[in-house]
């Protein structure tokens, strides 16, 4: 295989880890919305950490090999779709990171409540359903889908 083909393999691997990790986290988050027991939230938010690892690794692979591909395929770093994809990817990570920090505080509360009798709590329920946290996380996911669309359509290329 050529250098271009190898770079594409690693770039696409990054995209799979990134978008697949997002789907993984969303699946568990949607189930957490229907649970009240703190220990259930601890388990589900704990499993979401697997997605965080995949998303972090995927972002790195997609970004590094994507930039290398731009050079290898003779695109320009100043092309509109390249800049839009980079900005959107950074924005997606910023939103996801902010949502993740809020979720970590929710997980800390859930761990405390689980250790103190594991009884449902209005505060925990409110935090799991917090519209800002959900907006940040799902907004991040939508931006990742937008990055995929930019990669495929390459508007202006």
């Amino acid at each position: 295989m050529s250098t271009y083909q190898w770079l594409l393999v690693f770039h696409v691997t990054g995209a799979f880890l990134l978008l697949g990790g997002g789907a993984f986290a969303a699946s568990l988050n949607l189930i957490a919305l229907g649970r009240d027991r703190p220990s259930d939230i601890v388990l589900l938010f704990g499993l979401i950490r697997i997605a965080v690892v995949a998303i972090s690794l995927g972002t790195l692979l997609a970004f590094v090999f994507g930039l290398w591909l731009v050079h290898e395929a003779n695109y320009r770093y100043g092309d509109g779709w390249v800049i839009a994809a980079i900005v959107t990817l950074i924005a997606a990570n910023a939103l996801g990171g902010a949502g993740g920090r809020r979720d970590e505080k929710t997980a800390q509360l859930a761990r405390k409540l689980a250790a103190d009798g594991d009884e449902p709590s209005a505060e925990l329920r409110a935090r799991v359903h917090d519209p800002i946290s959900l907006g940040l996380s799902y907004g991040s996911g939508l931006l990742l889908v937008l990055v995929l669309a930019l990669m495929i359509w390459k508007p202006g290329a």
């Binding site: 393999v9 691997t13 697949g20 990790g21 789907a23 699946s27 649970r35 259930d40 388990l43 995929l148």
Partner: protein, 142 residues
């Protein structure tokens, strides 16, 4: 370099194919992880079984359909005469054998609703690896 020059009409089916495949990868991963987590003797067996069942029904099946429809759509545009290269064959092998495997997983999840059988994480883990082989083959086009 030919891969860089793609008619606009191929973009939507390719987008659907890749989006479906990535979501399929993530949701099959959830079923596998839930199945392996249950083996660790957790007291949340019913919750993990529900995670696997709901993710299978609401994530895996729709994602598979989007991936497979996108694959057939773009295959018809890119190779209208059916002379597909080997890397396309790898993709169809993984998707079609995967459909059979996912049917088996669905039956196993329906048969034992309170607990995930060991075969479920083993089969879904195998499918996650097969999806990896497919995306390497389809993106590298060796």
């Amino acid at each position: 370099m030919l891969a860089l020059i793609r008619p606009d009409a191929w973009n939507l089916p390719l987008f659907l194919h890749v989006l479906g495949a990535t979501v399929l990868f993530g949701t099959v991963g959830v079923v596998a992880v839930a199945g392996f987590a249950i083996r660790r003797g957790t007291d949340h067996q019913l919750l993990l079984a529900r995670v696997a069942q709901r993710t299978y029904m609401l994530g895996v099946i729709p994602a598979y359909i989007v991936m497979r429809v996108g694959a057939q759509w773009i295959d018809g545009k890119e190779f209208p005469n059916g002379n597909e290269p080997g890397w396309v064959g790898v993709g169809f092998l993984v998707s079609d054998a995967g459909a059979l495997l996912l049917v088996v997983v669905g039956i196993l999840l329906a048969v034992r609703r309170e607990r995930i059988l060991l075969a479920v994480p083993l089969l879904t883990g195998l499918y996650v690896l097969a999806l990896g082989v497919a995306w390497v083959s389809m993106s590298g086009k060796p």
